[in-house]
Amino acid sequence: MKKLIFTITLLALIVVPALAKKENKITIAGSTTVLPIAQATAEVFMDKNPEINISVRGGGSSVGIASIIAGTVDIGDASRHIKSKELVQAREKGIDPYENVIANDAIAIILHKDNPINGLTLEQIKDIYTGKIQNWKEVDGPNMPIVIISRDVSSGTFEVFNTKVLSGATGASGSLMLASNNAVATTVKDTPGAIGYAGLGYVTDKIKAIEVNGIFPSKQTVQNKKYPIARTLHMYTNGTPKGIVKDYIDFILSSEGQELIEEQGFISVK
């Protein structure tokens, strides 16, 4: 009898905490592009709802989606759509990934601010990133080697750039692969011959965003779908959002939340 009581108590000690529902906490992980949106909106949402705690971390879109599949976060941020393989994995595990579109974005092509180039075509950008064009003079720029800055492969920004610009072509050897939008922007700022790409929210006056196919990345050109490297930004949840996660996402989609998104340099979905 004592053994039975001991066994039941032990099981209860293990199982009950695992089943206990966490209250008033939202965990978010994923895309570094979406990270500033999540941070800015979480701060304001927590100010308005002091009883709620939101923890936000990056890691990349792949990490965000993997975390939703593993059930270790409430929200998985991604700057790309979920892949077929990920969707099947999720559904087999009883997870139903729901895509909440929270913002629009452009992937801006960025150069050092002293570079006189003001625009490139998609073909020229592809040729640069595949190594066919190696010097700025080949695109009517200064005689200066091109330093290619790219994103790591787990990044959603990389996936979108790869699809929309490289069309699956192999990148040039010697490209510098960096782990975040911020790292790309900083490296481009400090490297005169550099070319990089980052979410519009990371474009500052210390670097230079250029036209692509004659179109400058802006709210207007993204919303009228003229800018060729545009995308939507997502927060994935398991099923339609519920409870405090729904309250938080509703806040992001409210006019106040969308204003915060625009303050971060991204584009409203409204």
């Binding site: 199982v15 890691g59 990490v63 099947v88 559904r91 699956g168």
Partner: protein, 355 residues
Amino acid sequence: MKKAFLIVILTIVAFGILNAETKLKMELWNRWTYKMVDGDVEKNELALKRGYFRIEPKFSENIKGRFNVDFFSDEDGLDGAGLKIKYAYLDFNNLLPIKDAKLTVGLMKTYFGTIYDWDYTVIDKDPSDKYKFVSSTDYGFGVFGYFPKGYGTYALAVYNGEGYKKTGGDINKDLNYAANLRFTPVPGVTIGGSYMFKSKYDSQIEDETARGDMVDNPDREEYNLIAGVGKFAYGPVSLLAQYLNKVKSKPNMDDYDDVTTTVMSFMPVFKVNNKFDIVGRYDMYDPNTDEDDDGYNIIIAGFNYHIMRDSKNKPKLFIQTNYEIKQYEHEDSEDESEILIQLRWIFSETINKGK
């Protein structure tokens, strides 16, 4: 077919490592096994039961490869170690005019039952592997794809038919044919099925008593294999159920009775938290349904303790503990019990990123 495949794949992979984004992965299983039969200790060993080194070059967005060398403790091997090539294949995406489908060529996964995505939640092998229905990898080619909106997967493949272990000229030359489907109509409910046709020995041979005449080969063997799979997942609880059926026939032998082998397997898992899983498994194996008391049941209970996971929450370092009982149907056979404790660690890194 095997040698030609292997040479081509190895050459491409070696070239690829130098020139393409390549994922390197290594996994090691250090296991202590303590086996008892009828109260006597039959095995008490500590061994590297399996380790592998994997190279996955990505030649382009549409062409990827996988090359896998397995190594393991082996008393009969050189200096106590064994070595085998487990995977050597190339995936071609977008080559076929079907969305989300890939063509695979080489020493590749066998798309049957759950053997191709078995992740050793318990230490023991996948049922199709354990009960010798199919080999986990084989030389061949096939198409694998995803249904839209995450509704499942499909695969069609043709295999050499001898698995990855046998080499040399004296191997079966009959091809195997496999079809596999998995549907997930709603999240958490997956149903699937596989069919494989295998054969051995030529259907016709030259008659030794008559000049050049071809006659039916009485040794000809044909196998029809079926797997039914059900997976259920809800919150921290999941259950994998599998039914396997194999019918062996000798179509050119009139007095041969077909042999039907069946397996039922159930594997419940309770994920207590991100660190701790409670696992179980129950198998019923019947090697010949026409005979009594020739099978056995297996009961496994244990847990997995995850010490570390990677950024995508995949296991990186964890301990598996299983207690396994084998109960024979025949009353003269003694039950066997085993305690297995295994430390698994996984290392992976991608080089030449974005190349």
